[in-house]
Symmetry: D2
Subunit: 391 residues, 4 copies
């Protein structure tokens, strides 16, 4: 199980390179300010653990519940998401005090122990905070990217695999299909949307051993990929034209070729690196252009290594980019959301989204899982999203 | 096979109650003017059949190809969809002349016969026109509904089943699940998206023998269904609040209870009638409220009667309302779009839509099929869309 | 005084070239459908003359008051302006019946005579209808212009001065300024906004004897007029960039030079013609480019000939294009709106508009007046608007 | 003449109560972040004074010219105004360093002296900075107002007149009208838009000796002022309905009556205080309701005391709220903008705005002038804007 202090500390380490100003801005409605993330994950512990389980706990501020509830309808009104960037107070330092206040009460609560349901909520809260750690990074990157000075975030507090070390080179991983069990079962932690484990029927298939690279993507661009409607879903083509897309998010052309905005500032595009910041529409069009398709999420799960397999780094299954699948995000047969407010966690987003598998460089170590189901709308590009092909 | 003149004539019968003014207006971007429908289906025959197969054919007007192409990227530029309602000329009468011009050439072409591929395109063109017949009706209803005078369209040119005659009353239709073949195979016509026939693995399930009725829906409203966020997908709740939805489209409250705008003008809501003009978001929320769920499309197909089964009227499987399913609209495994421009027919819409099954009162007789896959975005309400439950 | 039947008949002559479809569409919120104009001016007589003065009058349709009230808050709710194009019924023919019904009652009322107040309202109603005659033409032109077929409206039912016949060639008309009386006084008809006649103090000035021509405007374009921000008001520059303006409305470039959409369809731009369909922003920028300025409306009035002066055609003071002035549209000192609902006629638009003087080719003969104050927002271009310089 | 260090220091004193987070956010496109104001006024000195006059000056940062140019087209491209709130770096502290860098060079330049044109630009730069001091306060107030915690800015660094001390109580100030000189002439500083001094012809008039108070405004509200279309300009009524206005900006109803958000946080509305944060539309409607009108700006100027008259505090002519006039903001006859880029200062905003006179509590002491012409669009409410009546 994750350690409370380890996870909480990691959030602060991720926020450390960001100034109070950096932590305040919301660059688009999808993005939340850094200090909002820091407060929201804290509110989760305050609301779902301390409130019901610590009779002596005093809330840090009466109105923080309103400001830092993300989307839990069952626990009351909340500040509108698109207006998170208008809140300058509490500032970054005061959020730090809020975190310390809750940490103090939480560590005492943890020491006192508690029943299984409390343990489950604690574990959920920590995995929830890890999710927001990744969001914090991708949101901060988006904020900084809109500054003409192209300022750097800096290095992540964990090792990131070099692109060339992730290449597998072995072509395709075949599978005979048939009835295959998919989803989570057993003792380890999983989100409710990974359950119940169930059988699916697959036709024989192959999944690429490697991720699609920046070099591959440049060939797609050079071949007119962004100008050929026959490659695109109708909705995707509409977005391409309306937004003027001609490359992944954060790429920009220079006299010396493509450059991209990264956490370290502007860098030349590395042909060997996994392509990132592409939408599902782009991934789907690329696959069609390549004479292939995206894998179903059950196909991906059937052939991917376990996330803690030391070999998993090869082939980029984890730790590089999330990988779009052909599967819309729907509930597994027999899915039952958790009871209470936390039951809103995943179930109510099961429409208009596509599933992604694997994990990305900004995913905290230990958070990835073979059965993990990430999801974003098909036009989203600000997450660390790439693809591998299937056929 | 459908008769060319029968289908063509039916379109004109459906347009007959609509004045030149009625045929011109586009009430929202999803809607097309009646005279556009009449011209577009004609352009299909002109472009895909006469053009390649009738060397002596002279196009009726050089620019109609631009005006009446719907979305076929492969056959050139086209007039923007949201601006179809700005085109006053050609008028309704001139569109009639265009239709006669093409019909004359088409009947000659049909008499000359042709290879299988021509026959296939002819059949596709006729089924395409039947689809637009239904669109014509639902679009005209929407146009008329925005007039404070609530003018009537009138009766459809085919018999419509009375609501109470469609009640089955037998509760639930059970099925043991297992490996089930789904999709079209064989000689009769089907759209490409119904193929290939393939196996799916289903858990045991039940599907309701009856459609959800207006009376059922009124109970949902009375129980606060439109005010309880826990019943809704997050995206759906956003739409409910943004649009102020509190009942199906076309319902409005009066001192004497709910009334609804119908093809015959304003009518009291009939509790025994199938609820119609609800979005997928509403159907999904209703099912959750009812302690049930929407069926998968494979489940629906496994238990539905054949469309030409005389018993099919019972239970409202066909001819009342399209029935939302829990299945996002995606390609069947191994799906290959048709070659050429007509390959754009269905495949490029396979994202952000939900599948519907059955058929509606405005579906032309003979057009329905058990394997038929209709699809709309989850917020759409102007089609004749209802639901039946599953569990 | 204007003749009732003459004015009413002229409206129908202006609508005659327009099909039922043409008469239905609203191409932007500023535009009203032809059949709406025909009905609205009729509603004016029904509401303000027949209602209070003809006890036996029966309204043609109970809901027409709702549909055809333009903006008179005092006489009740009304259909939202941007939705006028959604009303297909009553159709163009039924509007004709409505007009005949009201004409029958009105001619009887006129025969019976009436007090001065009734005579005043009658005269106001006829001048109001003449205003809508011009709106009908400019709105219909806009609707037709959005059709890629560029269909023609045809000839107006009155003679239009040829461009070259309007050239004066005498340069500038000087004036010593001083205290000058401006505004309407006396017996003839005038709108309330032309009163009271009052003194203004003017510095010495000159006004150009001729209108700015298309040839002049082409020189402005060629000199980068649309690409030089220093020539523009800040709001104007924002519009130029946002809308991509690079020429007057209805001009479009071809290999053979500029062409423009006219009431007769597409025509080459005539260098000798008065430039038309330019916004105030463009007129103001042109004047700055030319080292001049727009005249104040009092300056214009001080030097313009009377509208019924046979010499007035020379110099294009009337009958070519409305001429933008430097004057925002505000009330004259001591202005008092008319009592009752018709008091809403002009006063409530006295902000965010610029005044225009003269008249245009689409202004009905006899409607122009030297003291006439027309007004449009500074970005408007669909009226027949041009300019003459001052300094 | 204003002292360079005094003015520069005052800006920093005004920013001091605002945290780095407060200084970063842009709450609407009209608003600029505090740190942007601090940088922009600095850029003005760097660009227009140091650049041309100090050969040894090194710009602080190459890209600040892009980031902190407000609207001067003549000095190059600039960052889009609505995106000012996306720039987190440079932060508030680095802006402080930028200011110090420029101040150091500027004080040296001032010591070296310079020709009259340099002195003029210096004076312009300081008055420009004073204008932004007021903008800084009103923008910060708007940012803080959107926070549900309603945080306080605190006290201004100069004395503010208590409301009751500003009451005059003497009713109306009469004037016989006639030819009156208006505008600036002579030695003291004035903006170009206050010149040239010129004669206008006024009818006899009276202007109220007092400002309209919050108590007056409450009576207007209670009398249905926001619900009676006959009181409003058409454009204003559209805004009232679209925005749901029912009171001045920052007022909100409670069980204990109206409260308002102030620089000191939430306070009960003081009936004796001058009403503030009303738009021109509201001021105009109020005047109509009161049976009066707004004064022309020449009327205001003809009866107002001089700004440095010790008696001017009585009657609230200065230092309470800017006072809307009936006059659209246009150039004075014979107006010539200054040469060079600073000529863009005022002239290009002379359309779609209404003139205001006097000054407000947030106007820096010494900045007000009897001939001063402030201007805002008629829907603006976030400035400290009120009114006095005329008749």
């Amino acid at each position: 199980m994750l350690g409370y202090c380890d996870v909480r500390d990691m959030t602060e380490r991720l926020a450390a390179p960001l100034s109070p100003e950096d932590q305040t801005v919301q660059s688009m409605p999808d993005v939340s300010p850094t200090k909002w993330h820091r407060a929201h994950v804290t509110w989760f512990f305050e609301t779902f653990l301390l409130g019901p389980n610590d009779a002596g706990y005093k809330v840090f501020h009466e109105q923080f519940g309103y400001l830092f509830n993300s989307y839990y309808e069952a626990v009351g009104a909340r500040h509108p998401r698109p207006q998170r960037g208008l809140i300058t107070r509490p500032g970054a330092a005061e959020i730090g005090e809020y975190r310390a206040h809750v940490d103090s009460a939480m560590t005492a609560l943890i020491e006192r122990g508690g029943d299984a349901s409390l343990q489950e909520l604690l574990e959920l809260g920590l995995h929830h905070e890890q999710q927001h750690q990744e969001l914090l990074v991708m949101d901060a990157k988006h904020v900084l990217s809109l500054n003409p000075l192209l300022p750097a975030y800096g290095d992540l507090p964990w090792p990131v695999t070099r692109a060339q070390d992730a290449l597998d080179g072995s072509g395709w991983v075949g599978n005979d299909g048939g009835i295959v069990a998919t989803g989570h079962q057993g003792d380890g932690f999983a989100f409710d949307n990974e359950t119940p484990r169930h059988d699916v029927l697959l036709a024989p298939f192959e999944v690429a051993a490697d991720l699609v690279t920046n070099g591959d993507w440049a060939a797609f661009i050079d071949d007119g990929g962004y100008r050929r409607p026959e490659l695109w879903m109708s909705d995707g083509w509409y977005v391409v034209q309306g937004q003027g897309w001609d490359a992944p998010l954060y790429w920009y052309p220079t006299e010396d070729g493509w450059r991209q905005f990264t956490l370290q500032g502007s860098r030349p595009v590395d042909p060997a690196g996994a392509v990132s910041h592409v939408s599902w529409y782009e991934a789907d069009a690329y696959a069609r252009w390549a004479g292939a398709r995206l894998p179903l999420e059950a196909e991906w799960e059937a052939v991917a290594p376990l996330a803690d397999d030391p070999q998993a780094v090869r082939g980029g299954w984890y730790g590089q980019v999330w990988q779009w699948t052909a599967s819309p995000y729907v509930s597994y047969p027999g899915f039952v959301p958790a009871a209470g407010a936390v039951g809103e966690y995943n179930g109510k987003f099961m429409v208009n989204q596509q599933t992604l598998r694997g994990s990305a460089l900004a995913t905290p170590p230990g958070h990835a899982r073979r059965t993990y189901r990430n999801f974003f709308p098909p036009q989203s590009r600000w997450a660390f999203t790439g693809l591998r092909l299937a056929r």
